[in-house]
């Protein structure tokens, strides 16, 4: 859906395409990003250059990328889907052996000006590849076992690599995005029922094998689950992050302590306060109202995306946009439920708000693809 749809009937060309961009979406994205800079400025104690400025620079690079990608025809992105997937896999394999180690996990490639997380890039490539796959696939074969196993392999391969880094959060997200796309493409619900059954079995298995030599997860992952189940048990150790985050959020009250007045984040009680836990500062300084405003902005983004998917008649575009929407949603859902003590602490940033190059850039690239789909939709 374009804002100027009624005034431009025929397919646009050249810079006229800019008129067909989803400007309300762009506006909301910019609003969220601006909120992020404010928070980063506040967390740095009024130091603009520490986090806010680099984050702004990255955002504008991302914005430029979004526009450039959006201006490219959608068929081009359909063509590049599988090459992108292949490159993503290569990068994942590369970091497995040569990646920089951060926070106990191999996740990064040092590009000089920023640290790239190939696992983030891989999710977008996976979305493109699956959309492309289902756009070509004869609809009668969608639920055929062979044609179901193929995309499952395509999803599992990067998931396993990400899990080996080890990055549990991104691995789960990769799996969920892939599953959601298969769901959207129309794969029989029986398959999903079977998967749910297997997952329940696996959960039981994970806990049953705990403590045995063949336990399925790392000890720290078990501890994270424990911490999630009862954060108070270890208030200065593993449960510390969750408790401090909730104190910050809760102490903000209805309208918050005011901009730059958050004691929790100012005094460093919050871990990762400028990255994964940035929402806590928002909740502390702008209170319930501030936090809900952000939630509304995010919901708007999701509504815009899903509506654009529904309105588009090109199958590749539809699935691509749904994939991006699900990915965006998962960021928010995992991050917020983690920060608010509803899920284990896994390293997932809050899109457009958290300080960090990879996530920002990848999200903007994804929005670029969405725009390409919107601008070049069949009319």
């Amino acid at each position: 859906m374009s804002f100027f749809e009624n005034r431009t009937a025929s397919a646009p060309t050249g810079l006229a395409k800019l008129l067909h961009f989803h400007w309300p979406l762009v506006l909301v994205i910019c609003a969220i990003a601006t909120l992020g800079w404010l928070m980063l400025y506040s967390i740095a104690g009024g130091d603009f250059s520490r986090w806010a400025e680099p984050q702004m620079n990255r955002y504008f690079i991302g914005l430029a990328a979004m526009f450039w990608i959006g201006l490219m025809p959608i068929w081009f992105w359909n063509l590049t889907a599988w090459p992108a997937y292949a490159i993503g896999m290569l990068l994942l394999v590369y970091v497995e052996f040569f990646g920089a180690v951060g926070m106990g996990a191999q996740r990064w490639i040092d590009l000089g000006f920023m640290m790239l997380q190939p696992s983030e890039l891989m999710k977008v490539a996976l979305i493109m590849a699956l959309a492309s796959y289902y756009a070509k696939l004869d609809d009668r074969l969608i639920s055929h076992p062979f044609w179901v196993i193929l995309p499952v392999v395509v999803i599992i391969a990067p998931t396993v690599l990400v899990l080996m880094q080890p990055n549990l959060g991104t691995a789960v997200m990769t799996l969920a995005v892939g599953g959601a796309m298969m769901f959207a493409a129309g794969v029989s619900l029986w398959y999903f029922g079977a998967v749910v059954g297997v997952v329940v079995g696996a959960v039981v298995g994970i806990f049953a094998t705990r403590g045995t030599p063949w336990q399925l997860l790392h000890d720290y992952q078990y501890r994270r689950i424990d911490t999630f189940l009862d954060p108070a048990a270890d208030p200065l150790g593993a449960g510390y992050n969750i408790i401090q985050a909730q104190i910050a959020l809760g102490s903000g009250g209805w309208s918050g302590k005011g901009f730059m007045q958050g004691t929790q984040s100012r005094l460093n009680f919050l871990p990762e306060k400028h990255t994964d836990f940035i929402f806590t500062t928002l909740g502390e300084e702008f209170g319930y109202l501030g936090a809900m405003s952000l939630l509304v902005l995010y919901t708007l983004v999701l509504v815009f995306l899903l509506w654009a998917a529904v309105r588009n008649r090109d199958r590749f575009s539809q699935l691509l946009i749904i994939g991006v929407a699900v990915n965006f949603f998962l960021y928010i859902a995992v991050n917020l439920s983690m920060v608010m003590g509803m899920a284990p602490v896994v390293g997932v940033p809050l899109p457009l708000l958290s300080y960090g190059g990879s996530a920002t850039l990848v999200v903007m690239i994804a929005f670029g693809l969405v725009h390409s789909a919107i601008v070049h939709r069949p009319r």
Binding site: L249, G250, G253, T263, L295, V310, S337, M340
Partner: protein
């Protein structure tokens, strides 16, 4: 039966249906997140707000300045000096590239640190919470200290700070009496219900032994508090309020630094102890134990090599022999036996005993130290010439229980309560004691041994000084070490009478006078020439081995021919001036040989030093000894080279 492929529109509608299902799921999740936010931010907000407040404000202790120790004239014995030190906080240091190890490595390049220091620091960092600052290097020079400060940016987590640290300016002179402080150990905290929060400060110094330990409650003072705003890792952001602590009380000791220093130097490298006591007040004027050690080493945390040297030295430099040592008093005990016999009326001053050089009892022969014997001996001569047989005889007559009773009355076998560590009770045996401890009957031989201060009798130099004071004054004098606390003089209760008739004491005193001034006195060589400082005393030579009958046949091996640790202990007790006693002295030289040769000269020098308040004037010595005495004094390395008219030095 192949289906027809769906049209693009049909396909699109399929996606739409699935997308709607997905959006229902997403909507539910968003609603759940909103509900959770509502619970945190609105419903339970007050609770969390309270928690947030608690996070911010922290109370930190401010260690008080430890009370200082002074001698009776106000000379500083134990003080506090500024201590330039470096502390490291793990939470900050570990953020650096390379972590704590790298920071310590860099620190090593700036300030002198041994591998041991680094290992200790790492251990302490491991043990404590990451936000507790751990001292890694103390007593830095200003140069090193400022270099650490300048290199701050390269040393995350490292903070140079100025604290107070104990310092003993007189080094070894008071090491045994005053003791030393050291960091609180886990042992110190054991069994303490609610330890003073100060004790939980890393490396907080408390008294470990001696006065430092036993007066700890006065010296420590109480902690001040600082209300500070801290961040989650405990780093101080700013100070909200500050309440100064109360500094520990300054304590004035009865000791005289000049006399102490002289005596300590005079003892030299001997394994010896010398204590001087004011016979009227009980004030200890000097209490020296040799060899000594530098207590400052312990404050700094002594290197294990240095500690090993101290521990393995057979002269036991760490022991406070004044109170800790329990020695057979030998002939210095003869006054006790004599007084017991006199008090019981078994003998009088005229009673004579014939000494053929031995005493026979129950078929056994007990020897006098002079093989040829002393002939007919009365009380005065028995003391002057230290005849053993006289005492074998009178002890038999009066009985051990009466001797022991007199011994206890004079302060032997009793633990004198002083703020010093490991005070020995000694031993004053009687029949009941032997029955209790050895489950055996008291035998005649035991009495004979006890009569001359051998066998089961054990005394510390302090007890001997108390005994001598009581003999000299006839009063029940108690020793004391603390003169004043915070400038408030400790009251001295007038000593009660001893309960021994004055004329009987006088008889013994005459004997002690004769020991030093009589023509055949055993300590005549150590007499005082100055009329105003005439000295009385008694020598003692305590055997530490049995002399077998076979050895007596062939001739007793001379002390000088024995290995050091089998030689006799040399003892001497005395007081001066003879007419109006002022100070009593007790000297023990371990394995020093004869009391008259090894102990008496030291006792004389010490007493004269106490009487004159510093280095004794040569005029006090017999003219023929003066050149040798002068030469000896010139060899002593003394801290206070002038006499008592010099203003007290504060170092």
């Amino acid at each position: 039966m192949a289906r027809k492929p769906k049209s693009p529109n049909e396909l699109s509608e399929g996606v739409t249906r699935r997308a709607l299902l997905l959006s229902v799921g997403m909507g539910a999740m968003v609603a759940a997140l909103g509900a959770r936010m509502h619970r945190l931010g609105v419903a339970q907000s007050d609770e969390y707000r309270l928690l947030a407040e608690e996070n911010r404000i922290n109370i930190r202790l401010v260690p008080p300045a430890r009370g200082q120790l002074f001698d009776r004239a106000g000379v500083l014995i134990a003080g506090n000096e500024q201590n330039y030190r470096v502390v490291i906080t793990k939470e900050d240091a570990s953020k650096a590239e390379g972590g704590v190890q790298m920071v310590l490595d860099r620190l090593c390049q700036i300030i002198p640190m041994t591998d041991e220091d680094v290992a200790d620091a790492l251990k302490a960092l491991e043990r404590n919470s990451p936000f507790v600052p751990i001292p890694v290097a103390e007593r830095l020079s200003w140069q090193d200290f400022s270099e650490v400060a300048i290199n701050g940016p390269a040393l995350p987590g490292v903070t140079p700070e100025v604290g107070l640290s104990r310092h003993y300016p007189l080094v070894g002179d008071f090491a045994h009496v005053v003791g030393y402080v050291g960091p609180v150990s886990e042992k110190d905290l054991e069994g303490v219900e609610n330890p003073d929060p100060l004790l939980l400060i890393p490396r907080f110094q408390i008294g470990k032994i001696g006065v430092e330990r036993w007066m700890e409650s006065d010296l420590r003072g109480s902690a001040g508090t600082r209300q500070i705003e801290v961040n989650a890792v405990g780093r101080v952001m700013r100070e909200l309020s500050r309440e100064e602590g109360i500094a520990g009380a300054d304590i004035t000791l009865t000791l005289d630094a000049r006399v102490q220093n002289f005596v300590q130097a005079r003892l030299g490298d001997e394994s010896a102890a010398c204590v001087i006591m004011d016979v009227q007040t009980g004030d200890l004027v000097a209490a020296a134990s040799a060899p000594s050690f530098d207590p400052n080493l312990f404050v700094r945390g002594i290197a294990s090599a240095d500690y090993k040297v101290l521990i393995e030295d057979d002269h036991r430099p760490l022991a406070n022999k004044v109170v800790q040592g329990a020695y057979p008093p030998g002939s210095t005990f003869k006054m006790v036996t004599a007084l017991a016999a006199l008090a019981e009326g078994v003998i009088d001053t005229e009673t004579r005993v014939s000494c053929p050089g031995y005493y026979e009892s129950g078929g056994r022969r007990f020897h006098c130290w002079r093989a040829g014997g002393h002939g007919s001996v009365d009380l005065e001569r028995s003391l002057m010439e230290s005849c053993d047989v006289y005492y074998y005889d009178i002890a038999q007559r009066v009985g051990i229980d009466k001797v022991a009773e007199m011994g206890r009355k004079l302060g032997l076998g009793i633990r004198h309560d002083l703020p010093m560590s490991a005070i020995a009770e000694g031993n004053m045996p009687d029949k009941a004691w032997k029955a209790r401890v050895h489950n055996a009957e008291w035998r005649i031989g035991d009495t004979i041994n006890a009569a001359i201060g051998q066998g089961y009798v054990l005394t510390s130099p302090l007890q001997l000084a108390v005994m001598t004071s009581r003999i000299a004054t006839g009063k029940h004098v108690e020793p004391r070490l603390i003169k004043a606390i915070s400038g408030v003089e400790m009251p001295i209760a007038p000593a009660p009478e001893l309960g021994v008739p004055a004329e009987k004491l006088a008889a013994v005193q005459r004997g002690m006078f004769a020991v030093m001034n009589g023509a055949t006195g055993t300590a005549r060589g150590s007499r005082v020439a100055d009329e105003t400082m005439i000295m009385c005393g008694k020598t003692g030579t305590a055997q530490v081995r049995n002399i077998s009958a076979a050895e007596r046949e062939t001739g007793v091996v001379r002390n000088e021919d024995l290995p050091w640790n089998r030689r006799d202990h040399a003892l001497f007790v005395g007081y001066a001036p003879a007419e109006n006693p002022r100070y009593a002295v007790a000297v023990v030289v371990e394995h020093g040989g004869g009391g008259s040769a090894a102990a008496a000269p030291i006792a004389r020098d010490a007493l004269l030093a106490a009487l004159t308040g510093g280095i004794p004037p040569l005029s006090a010595y017999p003219a023929e000894q003066r050149p040798a005495i002068e030469a000896r004094f010139n060899e002593l390395s003394l801290r206070f080279t002038k006499l008592g008219n010099q203003a007290p030095t504060r170092i």
